[in-house]
Amino acid sequence: MLVGNDIVALNDKDNITSFNRTKYLMKISLPTEIIVSKLTGIKQTAFLWSIKESAYKLTQKYLSLTSFHPKHYQLISCNQLYENDFQSSIEYIPLKLKLFAITQINNEYIHTIMVLNQEHLNYCHYQTIKYASKTSQLKISKEIKKTLIQNVSSSLGINPLGKINITKNKHGIPYLLSNNKTLNSLDISISHDGEFGAYAFLHFQQNQHINNATKCVSL
């Protein structure tokens, strides 16, 4: 029950520069890849990046991959569910492995959550938080982890204080520790970009999205 997620801040100046480069899209897309015509400007490139990065984060754990090749992932289908929500299917081409995603797209960010089984999308807990504009990436990383621990603890019905921690393995992949033991039953994914922090985890006991709307936090 693995999950990957990726957030792209659309107003971040570096992202605007990157995603406006003509060759950028060529470097990450395949000639046969579908185009989501509803997305305009940098959103098209940013969406494809978010899809492929979150797919890599998932397959990195599932297949122990060590390097990211955007062209190893192909967007196969994309349907708009609601005004800001899209559901997609993706293939990891080398193994013909199908993956499934939900993506929230608005004028501020693109956030994708990727899973191995379409049914798992019903059990995704995810959140996007907007921090004050000058908050450092380090601070955002710490804060989003804190919020994730609180919400994982709440889902598991335990008091978080000192009981759940987040650590990283040698490949930089974050995972949960409960009372200093690896919590294998609950996979997490963390992402931050620009003013935004985001996370996702899968928990099968409760079927709810903690918060689909952006929360603003001043630090």
């Binding site: 792209v8 570096d14 480069r21 060759k23 470097k27 390097s67 090749h69 955007p70 970009d193």
Partner: protein, 84 residues
Amino acid sequence: MSTNREIIIGILKRYTFNEEVWNNFTDDFHVVKDLKINSARMVDIVLDIEDEFGIEISDEELDEMNSVKDMVNLLKKKKNDAGR
């Protein structure tokens, strides 16, 4: 005249947001893990290197671009291949 290594470090510096990551820098530092460069900027780095050196980097060669040492070696290899 700048060496390939210096040009590559110059390109990487465009995409690091924290000067401290260059403390104790070695050519083996991992671009994403150690220099904390956003993975979305890796594509920019590849494009910048292609523009700077007038070469094309294939998808397979991305595996050989994890550190400055890798990048310098890749350039050397491509130069040798072109000279054959």
